[in-house]
Symmetry: C2
DNA sequence: GTGAAAGCGCTAACAG
DNA sequence: CTGTTAGCGCTTTCAC
């Protein structure tokens, strides 16, 4: 099937002009039913599909959106969060008839070399970019080009950008309040990196809940690490020295690690140490005991990200759009009962 | 930064012709150093990047490859397998300066509507498509278009296609032999779907190992299910009635489910039931006890898939390329010691 | 309602 | 070594 058909060919076969075929393909009104039928017939017989590049060249629309995952999170593909988010984004793209280009950076060199390519014309109509520390450089670059973009998660040092995020402060606040309500008093926190808003916001919610209840905020009760299982494990080991009766962990994967450390220390969850975490991804259900955790509406996040980006593509970047989703505390067994 | 610069503009600014600028951009030799410098200067000052669509229109190259995940596997994004594979593919794309378009189908309707769009000209240079039952229809379609493609995993009913797969028969064979060597005699199997080669091949390896050792193949000792944790759980529950002393599970996620069932039945892994599974993904390490499992070189699979596709794009689809990777049995605790 | 013609921004002969 | 010219396949005025 070596078909290199063009509009011209279809036009000839249907006995009309190229313009008419174009009109039929683009579903314009001003074509007589009879001609439209004939053209459609030829198109389906020949299995003709217009060349996308040619179309893009004149319309300035690629119908592609790019999803950029900066390097520090690319290892996070080990975390189920990003695949989930990607699914949501892909679903929205499918619906809107957009293609989704995935730019998964592994190294800083990747970013330096590849990112400028992405922002060239005729490649993507807009970009969804994951907020991370490494992303900050990219923000500057992307802002200089005039490619529309939206950030997944609140960026740290980027005013006036559009983003979609969850209310991490409220989620963390709620989680810790739950522990307090259950009678826990010495609550530790395994936090995400302090150079991300995710890390920072959850710390803020944690502190807020403590303060409200008149509990002291002890620096030694907070450990900072990346979002991995390993990180959670080692952080918990360190924190255990302080003999906390509960840990609020900033992500499910870290909570799995933390529980491993607790188990190894001969302590029991939730009896000796109650645990509440953040995300509600599959590992939360499968762990033993299952995790009480703050659920993020990841799929909706993905859908909204695309919706927002398309809005920006259509109507320009100002004013910045900001969408914050609520979270929901899912109570399972790792937090135990009221004491 | 509303730049709508074209080659022509750069040419004017540098005092040369459009062709010369094009030559500089495409790194052709035949340009004097002096001119090259001046042009480069202007390009960097203006931050000019050539329009990709225009380029594609004439070169017939998009430098985009598509990754198609048919519907039945799209839920598998819950499984860490696909994210991992995607990472490998993305890494290879980055290296080769290709963009990666992700087509994640959720429904049959997605496939019907979207797939024809993908195979149009000027959108992608080639496609990597995941082998599944649902993919069979797509194979027919893609074969009709002349878009180069390669299959991830061996497809069931598609002769003459190029694919990259692991040796599932040998991997399963090896896994089951290990159980036999450890003294297990009544070995059950939780298999993947029989309408996929993954499911079928692993069953074949399982049976082969049994036969070789003179063990009877009992149909009641094999349960078939999808690749989910839930599936593994319910299959194990059923199989437990037969009182096996070992289970070879066709995927880590199913093994996690199977272990849950075993635990609930008051049995212990590996003492009462030894378990060996397939994949070696993070859940295998994190489970309790950690899983003995057949490691797949997923990242290499991804890299090879891209390499093969680029080869096909360059040199045509014939002869079909077939690459089979070896697997490796990773021994942890779920299989226990020799009895 | 339909066709002719111009042009999107680039590459690639072909001259010189 | 460099410039001129002719398209790539489509959309989009502008006539009729």
């Amino acid at each position: 099937m070596t078909d290199n058909l063009t509009l011209e060919d279809i036009a000839r076969l249907a006995g009309v002009s190229r313009s008419t075929v174009s009109r039929v393909i683009n579903e314009q009104e001003s074509v007589s039913d009879e001609v439209r039928q004939r053209v459609r017939q030829v198109i389906s017989e020949t299995d003709f599909r217009p060349n996308q590049a040619a179309r893009t060249l004149v319309t300035r629309r690629t119908y592609v959106i790019g999803l950029v995952i900066p390097r520090s999170t690319s290892t996070f593909f080990a975390d189920p969060y990003f695949p989930r988010l990607t699914m949501g984004i892909a679903e929205a793209c499918n619906r809107a008839n957009y293609s989704l280009s995935l730019y998964l950076f592994h190294t800083e060199e990747d970013e330096k070399r590849l990112f400028p390519r992405i922002t060239r014309k005729g490649l993507v109509d807009g970009i969804i970019i994951q907020a991370t520390q490494a992303a900050d450089v990219l923000f500057t670059q992307i802002a200089k080009s005039d490619v529309p973009y939206v950030v997944a998660g609140r960026p740290l040092n980027a005013p006036n950008v559009s983003y979609v995020d969850v209310d991490n402060v409220a989620g963390a606040h709620n989680a810790v309040r739950h522990l307090i309500r259950l009678g826990r008093r010495k609550i530790a926190h395994i936090a995400g990196p302090r150079d991300t808003t995710v890390g920072l916001d959850r710390i803020e919610g944690y502190c807020k809940a403590l303060s409200e209840s008149g509990l002291a905020i002890d620096e030694n009760l907070t450990a900072e690490c990346d979002f991995t299982e390993e990180g959670g494990y080692y952080s918990a080991r360190r924190l255990l020295a302080q003999k906390p009766d509960a840990i609020f962990v900033g992500a499910d994967m870290m909570a799995i690690g933390a529980m491993r450390a607790v188990r190894e220390a001969g302590l029991r969850v939730p009896k000796d140490i109650a645990i509440v975490s953040f995300d509600d991804l599959p590992p939360a259900t499968l762990s033993n005991p299952p995790l009480t955790t703050v659920r993020q509406p990841i799929r909706r996040l993905g859908l909204k990200l695309v919706e927002t980006l398309l809005d920006i593509i259509e109507n320009g970047p100002t004013p910045p759009r900001r969408v914050i989703f609520d979270t929901e505390l899912v109570i399972r067994e790792s937090c135990g009962e009221r004491r």
